[in-house]
């Protein structure tokens, strides 16, 4: 955890297929926000957004990381992974679209709601993906945003 000019930066690695630990980063992020006294409706948004992002990295990618920057007026979340990237981002953003395997579905994932949930929780949302390269999701949540 580093602290430069009133901003707090957190960074967590997320491993591929590590389902007993997947979610730990989001859990730590949520604890820190609670300790910092961030209003609970904002903490809720961040918790959902980071957890969905973390599960997507664990389930769909080769591994990656989640970076969270807590500024005085907003929280920035960047989830970036090392591939394989998403062929059709527009399709991936649709509610209900999922490529999750049966094994993943048995764990309770694969509703195709993760990316739409992340977008709903964000005041600003952006996703860029390159096949063979990786995926980067950017989310900004303002500290005065309304409950979702």
């Amino acid at each position: 955890m580093t602290n430069k000019s009133n901003a707090i930066n957190l960074e967590f690695n997320v491993m591929k297929d590590d389902f007993s630990r997947a979610g730990e980063a989001s859990s730590k992020i949520k604890k820190i926000l609670t300790q910092l006294g961030i209003v609970s409706s904002v903490t809720r948004r961040v918790a959902i957004a980071t957890y969905e992002a973390e599960m997507n990295i664990a389930i769909h990618s080769l591994g990656g990381k989640i970076e969270v920057t807590i500024n005085p007026n907003e929280i920035i979340i960047i989830a970036v992974d090392n591939g394989p990237g998403i062929e059709d981002v527009k399709l991936a953003m649709q509610e209900g679209y999922s490529t999750a395997t049966n094994k993943i579905r048995e764990l309770g994932f694969g509703a195709g709601m993760g990316l739409p949930n992340m977008k709903k929780c964000s005041d600003e949302f952006d996703i860029v993906s390159k096949k063979g390269k990786g995926t980067k999701v950017f989310m900004r949540i303002s500290l005065d945003s309304k409950p979702v």
Binding site: G23, I48, F109
Partner: protein
């Protein structure tokens, strides 16, 4: 509805969190899809699910769900029970299937979580 009442109605066994049975929930949600759990639960809600894996506990933690009922006699592993203990979450298990468990709670006045398009009758 008090968790103690939920336990009674479902003839459930409390796996952990006996000390929180006086806590109240406003609604219930029965689901095996974690993204839907995250999207729909917005208040004090008991989650009924047929899934017993660590992700259920983590999902609950994200949205401050403190009561989970496993249906169809599903028993959580030691690891899951420990995770729940650390997060002050009450776990119960009932032999009823999801449909019957939800029906029994609804019949006794515990409503489902509100969703868009719901007829609000309370």
């Amino acid at each position: 509805m008090k968790l103690a009442t939920v336990k009674e109605i479902l003839n459930a066994e409390v796996v952990t969190g006996e000390q929180y049975l006086n806590n109240e929930v406003k609604s219930a949600f029965g689901c095996d899809l974690m993204s839907d759990v995250l999207a729909f639960i917005k208040e004090e809600t008991v989650l009924l699910t047929g899934l017993a894996n660590p992700q259920v506990i983590r999902t609950a933690e994200m949205i401050d769900v403190y009561a989970i009922v496993f249906v169809r006699g599903k028993r959580p592993s030691r690891q899951i029970v420990e995770m729940a203990e650390q997060r002050n979450i009450t776990l119960m298990t009932t032999d009823y299937i999801l449909y019957t468990a939800c029906g029994k709670l609804y019949e006794k006045g515990l409503r489902g979580v509100n969703v868009k398009g719901d007829v609000v009758d309370d």
